[in-house]
Amino acid sequence: MMHGACTMIDICDLKTYYSAGFLHRTEVRAVDGVSFGIEKGETLGLVGESGCGKTTLGRSVIRLIEPTGGRVVFDGTDVTALSRKDLRRFRRRMQMIFQDAYTSLNPRMRVSESIAEPLRIHRIEDRAGIDRRVRDLIEAVGLNEEHLNRRPYELSGGQNQRVVLARVLALEPEFIVADEPTAGLDVSVQAQILTLFRDIWREYHTTCLYISHDLGVVRAMSDRVAVMLKGRIVEIGQVADVLDHPCHPYTRLLVAAPVDDKEFSCPVSAGAPAMVEVRPGHWVEATAR
């Protein structure tokens, strides 16, 4: 339903369930039947409150968490059907940036070793090539050679996030899942990191799933936005459509929209919840009544 001409990643009815509670008898449906596509070079923002399943969704897409069901097709390849060995090779093309840069980096490795590690694991360059690439990368993310000998605890939060980005860029991935990469950073540092991300993603034409609960950040970073509630996508579309003219009651709560906007009321469905296209490319889950 939302497939473009050059869809990079196509997610179909993805489900990730956890067992929880006494004797693991309770089933938590963290991701409960999610479908959407992301075009090549597009950034899709994913918003929702803490606990709605957005981190699980992000990790399931690149199989850091094994999904319970559904399919993820990346550039024509069904990621969910890959063997562990093939998946490892494939991971080079799909990378993740985590919330806490400090704990994403090995505390015992110098910055230069951290950035060189993925190049070595994926056997991308020889030794001399690695040194050259590491120096190029550290400059690409706005740090300099002086930082290469430091360890994570000697760098600030923003600097560590730059190192993480250099490490990710080393593999020249086509798809990046970024999970709240600026949570906990100051506004002025956040602006530095986000403009850096945006410039680099545009330059490399990177496809991105950008997870955040900060609507201002999502608006600045994304082309389209998906709103997640209790494991399901309830609204998806162009940023301006969804955030300025929200239809689903939850999106309206999230953006604190006036309640009596009759023009964009939520569609009502008689049977099971279904996605309805309210405007071209703007889909909303119909509320049951």
């Binding site: 803490s50 506004v187 002025s188 602006a191 530095q192 403009t195 201002g216």
Partner: protein, 315 residues
């Protein structure tokens, strides 16, 4: 601008932490007054000295900290009180909502008991009366089913609920002055709005020092806002004036960094508090800095009604 006596007055407060690398100058000659019934937002980034200022008022800094200046509360200098006298003020008259890190509540005590402890200590209520008071407080901060939740441990509380419990704890003695340290940190948009609503609901007539790095939260709650950079107040004034027509280049840069205001970052990073730049502390990052900015240290000067800024351009 007001004829009323300020409730709290900070005069020339300088705070330094001795470390092996040298003295960390966390606050430098801070002058600030908090007027009866007003909410003053103290806005600043990590390491700007805003939490240090709050903790200095409560006298909760480590004993080896070097503190100079005066903190006058209802005319008494808190810095010259004995620890016993200070304990009568802390919690009872000046209370704090600590930063919600998940560690501000004792994990092995029931939430209700922790609040009851404060009630017993300051209001002299015992046993069942203290417990009942705790339940009433949890109800006041809109905890659903307060009688049941009072018997739960903190790990059963979500981030938003823990924040509410911390607010209940601070309200235990109806303090006339509340210091809130980053109460909305780490909360999602909807929960944050609920906590801000709760703040405006519980604090009519109370003076509040609202320490935050969240500009939107400051705009929602505060009457006045003070902006801190590298241990100094660089701009202070009415919230509308400071946030819609900021004067200091740092305040301008901070606002322009917001995603919704264009996301134009300030170049460079905050200075080390051990070796501060000479002259204006913001000058190494300031696009308007001239030779004089790098040599002379600017004073706070009046730039508008009740609105001061620390910048050479207005000297």
């Amino acid at each position: 601008m007001t004829t009323e006596e300020p409730l709290l007055e900070v005069r020339g407060l300088t705070v330094g932490f001795p470390t092996v690398d040298g003295l960390v100058k966390a606050a430098n000659t801070v002058d600030l007054e908090i007027r009866p019934g007003e909410t003053l937002a103290l806005l600043g980034e990590t390491g700007s000295g805003k939490t240090v200022l709050g903790m200095a008022i409560l006298r909760l800094l480590q004993p080896n900290t070097r503190i100079e200046g005066e903190i006058l509360y209802r005319g008494r200098n808190l810095l010259s009180l004995s620890e016993g006298e200070m304990q009568k003020i802390r919690g009872r008259e000046i209370a704090v909502v600590l930063q919600n890190t998940g560690t501000s509540l004792n994990p092995v005590l029931r939430v209700g008991d922790q609040i009851a402890e404060a009630v017993t200590l300051h209001r002299g209520l015992r046993g069942g009366d203290a417990e009942a008071a705790a339940v009433t407080l949890l109800d006041r901060v809109r905890i659903f089913d307060p009688a049941r939740m009072a018997r739960e441990y903190p790990h059963r509380f979500s981030g938003g609920m823990r924040e509410r419990a911390l607010i209940a704890l601070a309200l235990a003695c109806e303090p006339s002055f509340l210091i809130a340290d980053e109460p909305t940190r780490g909360l999602d948009a909807v929960t944050k709005r609920e906590i801000l609503d709760l703040f405006s609901e519980i604090n009519p007539g109370r003076s509040v020092l609202f320490i935050t790095h969240d500009i939107e939260a400051a705009a929602t709650l505060a009457v006045r806002v003070a902006v801190m950079y590298a241990g100094e107040i660089v701009e202070i004034g009415p919230v509308d004036a400071v946030l819609s027509s900021p004067v200091h280049p740092y305040t301008r840069g901070l606002l322009a960094s917001l995603p919704e205001r264009g996301m134009r970052p300030i170049p460079g990073s905050s200075p080390s508090l051990i070796t501060l730049p000479p002259g204006c502390r913001f000058s190494p990052r300031c696009t308007r800095a001239v030779g004089r900015c790098k040599k002379e240290h600017p004073e706070l000067v009046e730039v508008g009604p009740d609105h001061d800024a620390r910048c050479m351009y207005y000297d």
